[in-house]
Symmetry: C2
């Protein structure tokens, strides 16, 4: 960033949407990022922090003083502050809490109390409530007295005196109906009601399936607590998909592209360590058969093929099963059907690819029995991969754990060690 | 499904939302699925087909006669028929085309002409347009004459006589403003305008960043063509994330959980074949060093560790880079910074894990030089993984290809063959 352009830059920044500022900051190396961050208008600070990804937000917050942070947080709604809360220093958070009016303070406390994957964490409190015994005309006049409607207001919530949800009045119905009609006559009584402790993932399916823009959140007595809007749902879907991709690749969490080396090492060490342990086990399995390899050194060159294809095939099965579990498509009855099907797929693949591999082995090493052992080992390892590709995610899910996390590492560990064991074992028995 | 319960089931089905029916169908084995499908009311057929996933939709369409299919398609809007079109038999599609009124036929042709990842493919034509020189009162009266508003109508599009987009009137502004105001006075002129050939992925970022419910689609002359709504965007995001996960695991496309074995084999053979080729190459690399392995058989047991950790670390780097590329956070300038950083991370990891692995090797085999070779090979393979982990996706992206597809397979191929070569080569030079 050239100094003489700073004024121009300032002018440009002032015109940008907070989300765009966050985007620019994410693409900049640390030094430039902080330079730009200090040029952002203070009244945008809160919004930018909210829009930035976790890793970037951390670098920005570290750069700010406590007073600045409190000022930034105070520009936000209670549910938004709750999103920032985990990254804020404790004393800043307390200052913010005490500066809030009492209702908002209660809302913030409530929002902070939900785990990240509960509906409560996606909820906001910007609801417009109306009564069912008034005419639409009155509703329209009531709305006109407001300066603006909350974002994503596609429905008004119809509640009774005690805030119990009776129905919703869709804005689109409000607009096409005769103003003399009563709310009760045009409101919808069948609507999606979420509970704050519901699983957020399930709620996102409801949004996808019913094409919702917003949905009510009620407590056990049907009392209206707030709403979830589609933008929170999109953010959740995106974050979930990204975390899955990161975990699969062995990254613990989202990483700042320009994070210092040591910080990145910290983010990546866990899965590398897990991988190291499983690789050591596989190595010891091979170690058991060192005598066989010494006698027939071709085994050393061939064994990675068996392990590799097994891992690939097992991961295919696991991906199918994890997805079906997430969508709730698997029950005990279908589990057996699935195992049978996956074993069938593996048998076909094993005969086909095992046959080809066996043939090539025979051609290269001029050894027919070695070719047959390759074919047999391939088939067995693929069957092992299919069986455990179904059982690992099902078991994780039965134990109440997320079947997506770590199951790919586990299946690879099994198909590596298992593949080496099957192949070297068969070779020892039949060839030596 | 028990026969005596069929009547009850029918009753239940009639009450279900089409999306829920599609969901139920997806979780059923083929036979039960077709039984239920035949019980679904004909007037829901189109909607259910639209909501079902590609693999399931295919099985349902195969089960239907041409007349049924035409009838089902005719219940849908032009943009919805376009979504089904790739799965419909050619003659059904033509019958549907000719049965449509001329404007819808043109819309369907237009919608079908866009590639799947263009904004045009997400677009629908349900826009309400108004003029800027009328009072809000008139707009409200105009809306009241409609039976219902299109789903996701959060804004009305303000156009001139030639359909050029002048601005948008947010429904929330319409509701809070004085009915005597002119549209021109309250409409928003700064709005998101998409073009039908824009990349759909970029459009989804706009929806996320600006929390949109709908956005206009205009041609080069700013003429309004249609709109994109948030539900289409969510479906696109979900599908994109799923395809990525499937490709990474070596599945070509979404698969029906209960697909026949041979159909599943077809879906999975491609990546298994690719994997087989790379495994063969790695095997030949080992083959070159058979003499060395014969002399020191411990090499065979240790080599998978070097290859495995390299693959894991390379995949970590690739995942970071692919994500940053998708978000447009990388330019030529930052590419060098990234390579330097990733090399740094690899050097630290290599020293740390390589040191541990070297130590264990020394303890197990009582051979200090073997331990040192392990450490050196680990460091070198991790550096190779870092370098290519940045270069592979950057090169794919420069060549205009999707960096997500296949890059994980490529890095694993490099770190396998490269790892074997580095380790066995070092061992041959220094130990034998």
């Amino acid at each position: 960033v050239q100094k003489q352009n700073l004024a121009e830059l300032q002018c440009l920044l002032d015109k940008l949407h907070p989300a765009d500022i966050a985007y620019v900051l994410e693409a900049l190396p640390l030094e430039d990022r902080l330079l730009i961050w200090n040029m952002v208008k203070a009244e945008h600070d809160g919004e930018v922090l909210l829009e930035a990804s976790d890793a970037i937000r951390e670098t920005l917050i570290t750069d700010m003083g406590n007073t600045e942070l409190v000022a930034a947080a105070e520009q936000l709604d209670a549910d938004e502050i709750a999103d920032l809360a985990p990254d804020l220093p404790q004393d800043v958070l307390e200052d913010v809490l005490w500066a809030l009016p009492i209702t908002e303070r209660e809302q913030l406390r409530a929002a902070m109390s939900f785990p990240e994957d509960a509906v409560g964490a996606l909820m906001d409190f910007d609801v417009i409530t109306i009564r069912e015994d008034v005419r639409l005309e009155v509703v329209l006049r009531y709305l006109r007295r407001l300066d603006e409607l909350p974002d994503h207001t596609d429905q008004l919530f119809v509640v009774d005196r005690d805030e119990h949800l009776k129905g919703v009045l869709l804005v689109s119905r409000l607009l096409v109906s005769d103003p003399e009609t009563q709310v009760a006559a045009v409101m919808t009584k069948e609507m999606v009601k979420l509970h704050p402790n519901d699983n957020a993932q399930q709620a996102t399916y409801a949004f996808e399936r019913y094409d919702l823009v917003s949905a009510s959140v009620v407590d056990v007595d049907d009392k209206l607590l707030g709403r979830v809007t589609v933008n929170a749902v999109i953010d959740f879907i995106r974050e979930k998909a990204e975390n899955e991709a990161l975990n699969l690749a062995g990254l613990s969490e989202e990483e700042d592209l320009f994070a210092p080396v040591l910080k990145s090492v910290k983010n990546r060490w866990f899965w590398l360590a897990v991988n190291l342990v499983t690789a050591f086990i596989a190595s010891r399995v091979i170690g058991v058969f060192e005598d066989s390899i010494e006698k027939l050194v071709a085994l050393a060159a061939l064994m990675p093929i068996i392990a590799g294809i097994g891992g690939n095939s097992g991961n295919q099965t696991i991906t199918m099963i994890v997805r079906a579990l997430a969508l709730g498509q698997i029950n005990t009855d279908s589990a057996w059907k699935l195992i049978a099907k996956e074993l069938g797929v593996s048998a076909v693949n094993g005969l086909m690819w095992g046959g080809i591999v066996g043939l090539f082995t025979f051609i290269i090493y001029q050894n027919a029995s070695l070719g047959l052992v390759m074919t047999a080992a391939m088939i067995l390892n693929l069957l092992l991969a299919a069986l455990l590709g179904v059982l690992i995610p099902l078991t994780l899910s039965k134990c109440g754990r997320d079947p997506a996390i770590g199951s790919s590492v586990m299946i690879t560990a099994v198909t590596d060690s298992g593949g080496f064991f099957i192949f070297l074992g068969l070779a020892t028995i039949f060839l030596l």
